[in-house]
């Protein structure tokens, strides 16, 4: 408390012209004020001032809390919108055939929902903007009233010690200079509070401008005017603008492709005829309808000759491979037979080991060309050769 008043007085005297008599008078006056203030009302003014400051800044705190919350919501919405745009772009790129009318209709309805959500968000942002402006106005009024009250308190505090000390000690010889010193001290206190209020106002205005910039960027009806010059933190806004451009492009394509999808192919026409409980999944469907004869088996897979070939058990192939290391070669040959897609896994290939050779017995795919069979034999022989030390 004493130190605070001392600083105030020193600050006030620092504003006066530095003459020797003025300084001595100011020092005496300051000491007297400190003694009187410490005797009469210890620690009254600072408590009141802290409460006043907190009360004056309460609307600003509420507004800043609201601003932070809204910015967080806006960021989440931007992320959701970007993901949605990516999914739409992927779907749109693959819907060139126009054969999925249901998907296109679902995307169009989802687009309308998105537009409604964007309009609601814009209205809410306008409300928040109004709220923020009102909070700033209220804060400015509170600060003005607070500063006026502080000035009045300071006047009263200066008038009281002057009246109490006047009978005991006569006034100094330079009343004009002392008055000037008092005026400078009061101006210093007022300047201090003014600077604090000004700093608060500047911070508020900066926050308000930033919030207005975010609002302007995210408002859909303001896309056509020239974009504001890039500022710090505008990368997120640029990203959502790119997503909005993609959205517009996807909407245009969807509206163009909607008639083609409705004209549709067989899949779209057959969709309502699914049995109950068999709602179509994403893959286009051409299942035969109920009551229609099942699709005949494919000719390539079930032709008469092919079926006969695959239903007749393939003959075992037995080769004798000469090797210098039968044990090592057997592992290599077995590994090769178990990984070659031309060799049947069941029945399993059999490798018998003798003194200087391997006897390999296995079965191959039906209709395997002789060239492929020869290639397989070459691989087996090469494996034996490679395993020989």
């Amino acid at each position: 408390m004493k130190a605070w008043w001392t600083c105030l007085c020193l600050g006030a005297t620092a504003c006066a012209p530095p003459t020797g008599d003025t300084e001595v008078a100011a020092e005496l006056r300051a000491l007297r004020q400190v003694l009187v203030a410490g005797r009469e009302a210890p620690a009254r003014a600072p408590a009141v001032q802290v409460g006043e400051v907190a009360r004056a800044l309460a609307p600003m705190r509420e507004a800043l809390d609201e601003l932070v919350r809204n910015q967080r919501e806006l960021q989440q919405r931007q992320q959701l919108l970007t993901e949605e745009m990516q999914r739409w772009t992927a779907l749109q790129l693959e819907s060139g055939a126009g054969a999925r009318g249901d998907e296109l209709r679902a995307m169009a309805s989802r687009l309308q929902q998105l537009e409604a959500a964007l309009a609601a968000q814009a209205a809410r942002q306008r409300e928040v903007e109004t709220l923020l402006r009102g909070a700033l106005d209220r804060t400015a009024e509170h600060l003005d009233q607070f500063l006026l009250r502080v000035g009045a308190d300071v006047d009263r505090a200066q008038a009281t010690p002057a009246a109490s000390t006047e009978p005991a000690a006569p006034a100094p010889a330079e009343p004009l200079q002392e008055r000037a010193s008092l005026g400078g001290r009061r101006g210093s206190v007022l300047a201090w509070w003014g600077m604090a209020g000004l700093a608060t106002l500047i911070a508020g205005v900066l926050c308000w401008r930033r919030w207005r910039l975010v609002l302007a960027m995210s408002r859909p009806e303001r896309r056509a005017p020239p974009r504001p010059e890039p500022t710090e933190g505008a990368a997120d806004v640029q990203e959502i603008w790119a997503a909005a451009a993609l959205l517009g492009e996807a909407v245009g394509r969807l509206r163009d492709a909607q008639p083609a999808g409705d004209q549709g192919g067989a899949a779209g026409a057959a969709e309502p005829s699914f049995p109950p409980g068999d709602e179509p999944i994403v893959l286009a469907d051409d299942l035969p309808l109920p009551g229609v004869a099942p699709t005949p088996p494919p000719a390539g897979a079930a032709g008469g000759g092919a079926v006969a070939a695959r239903r007749s058990e393939p003959a075992a192939i037995t080769w004798r491979l000469r090797t210098g290391d039968p044990a090592g070669s057997m592992q290599a040959v077995l590994g090769l037979l178990q990984s070659d897609p031309r060799v049947l896994r069941r029945p399993e290939p059999i490798v018998r080991c003798s003194r200087d050779s391997l006897e390999v017995s296995f079965r191959c795919l039906p209709d395997l060309p002789a060239g492929e069979r020869s290639h397989l034999e070459q691989r087996l022989r090469a494996a034996c050769t490679a395993a020989t030390p």
């Binding site: 494919p298 000719a299 393939p314 896994r345 795919l365």
Partner: protein, 207 residues
């Protein structure tokens, strides 16, 4: 993913390259014929080709010609009178075909290692592969695979837990769908011993 890519015949001394997935095909015109190099990861195969004056080569992703038994990586279990829908994937077979005035001929097939042939006393020779039971399409991945939507139904009063899904695929079934390859959906019904393919009307199970 295109199902078929034309492999142009290069001029003398030149070469033509094709790349799909991790496979690369190089066709070189040599003295007296052509040389075809098939590179797939660490494996490579070389063919010496003699082509007629009107022969045209192409590289296609073909369906496995034998029936396929798809073993689901997840254990499948269907309660009595329940049904289950999902997707399984079957590897496609890269095939080099030659077209000329006599028709289309398969020059070479390169079945992937995921397809394993085996003999079954009842069905004959079949392919066997393993696939996760997907619930969403498209399925990410760069390997050439066909995605088949399957409807599984259990009209019996016992729990059905099939070991594999029997599928028969043909080239005519394949079609590019949303960045992948799809085939027409299959409806399989549990008959007490295994899943059998049924028509759409016969497989409906009232709930």
């Amino acid at each position: 993913m295109p199902l078929q890519l034309a492999l142009r015949r290069p001029p003398r001394g030149g070469s033509t390259r094709l790349q799909f997935g991790r496979t690369e095909v190089v066709l070189e015109a040599t003295r007296g014929g052509y040389a075809l190099l098939w590179l797939e990861g660490r494996q490579a195969r070389r063919f010496a080709l003699g082509l007629g004056p009107t022969s045209e080569l192409s590289v296609a992703l073909a369906a496995p010609r034998l029936p396929v038994r798809v073993a689901a990586r997840d254990t499948l279990a269907l309660a009595p009178r329940a049904r289950l829908r999902g997707y399984v994937q079957v590897p496609l077979v890269p095939t080099i075909s030659c077209r000329d005035h006599a028709g289309v001929h398969r020059l070479a097939e390169f079945p992937p290692a995921e397809l394993e042939p085996e003999w079954d006393d009842r069905e004959g020779t079949v392919w066997r592969c393993v696939s996760p039971f997907h619930v969403r399409y498209p399925i990410p991945g760069s390997e050439p695979r066909v995605t088949v939507a399957v409807w599984l139904a259990n009209p019996t009063e016992t729990i059905a837990s099939p070991a594999y899904l029997p599928l028969v695929l043909a080239d005519a079934d394949l079609r590019p769908v949303r960045g992948g390859v799809g085939a027409r959906p299959r409806r399989l019904t549990w008959n007490g011993q295994g899943l059998v393919a049924t028509a759409a009307g016969a497989a409906s199970v009232t709930r």
